[in-house]
Amino acid sequence: MAKMTLEDLRNLREQKKKDMSKRDSAGKDVRIIIGMGTCGIAAGAKRTLDAFIEELDAQNLENVAVTQTGCMGLCYVEPTIEVMVPGMPSVIYGNVDEETARRIVNKHLIKKEMINDHVFDRPAADIIKDGGK
């Protein structure tokens, strides 16, 4: 792979845009938030983020918004992520390694099924200011 320039990147973007317009807007309004506090980084959240980007791209879900947040208060099960899919409850998943990230894309986002062994809730309402809302 030769060194890319910004111009190459723009061209690649244009090509991708054309490809995307051929498909329906799959993944629109879906949001994945990755906990990237010191605890998350130490537990490998960067690799989790990478796995999400890779799998979403492989499944043609380019419209999914992937964002980061700080510590969600669940340091003991980092990396933690929150998934928001319209029509489904917001879910916080814990211990999300690369493989689990791929499962989340394929099961939660595509099949609309939760991955029960990784579901964690927000911290108890009495220890966070706004009750977690």
Partner: protein, 195 residues
């Protein structure tokens, strides 16, 4: 405890974003002997007392950070550098900004691996998407990376603003994936020249 040097870089860049910086510059320099990093920002800066507290893992006044009451990034860095014969030097001026420099000796057995540079740069560039960093406002991040082998230096630089403009934002999986390809290509060409 962080496993890779790149984790420290990400942590410090996050601090700079949270400090309300509008311009952050990262210099990551690697030679056969050392790995050296400097993160400069024009954020709110720290007083001498605040700087002392930032290095202390056992101190918190509940206001170290806007959205959280503790911060372990700098203490982790100080500990890792201390145990591997590296150094950490932080200069800060209240209202002007902060400069954090650290270096690791590549020959020291306790020096952590450098880690995933493209992934770290990508994560750092997409930080402003972060919900808890939203109050930080818009900022530019300039990433300068260099590698010196056999007396020859090769380098690349990426500005977050250029990347955002070329990809029409860095919010969606599609644009993040392209940015990842871009960073990987730049890093790979650096490594290929090393060989």
């Amino acid at each position: 405890m962080h496993a890779e040097i790149c984790d420290f870089i990400l942590d410090i860049v996050q601090n700079a974003v949270e400090a309300g910086s509008s311009r952050i510059e990262v210099f990551l320099r690697e030679t056969e002997r050392i790995i050296e990093c400097r993160v400069q920002d024009n954020g709110r800066g720290m007083t001498a007392e605040e700087l002392k507290a930032a290095r202390d893992p056992f101190y918190t006044d509940g206001t170290k950070h806007a959205e959280r009451s503790i911060g372990m990034g700098i203490p982790f860095l100080v500990q890792a550098a201390g145990s591997a014969g590296g150094s950490v030097d932080i200069k800060s001026e209240k209202g002007k900004g902060t400069e954090c420099c650290f270096s690791f000796d590549r020959k020291n057995l306790d020096t952590p691996p450098l880690g995933d540079v493209p992934g770290t740069f990508l994560t750092a560039c997409s930080l402003s998407n972060s919900l808890s960093f939203l109050h930080a406002g818009e900022f530019d991040l300039i990433l300068n990376r260099s590698l010196t082998t056999n007396g020859r230096e090769d380098s690349y630089a990426v500005a977050r603003s250029e990347l955002t403009e070329a990809l029409d934002g860095l919010e969606t999986a599609g644009s993040l994936s392209l940015a990842r390809i871009y960073f990987t290509s730049l890093e790979k060409s650096l490594r290929d020249r090393e060989k």
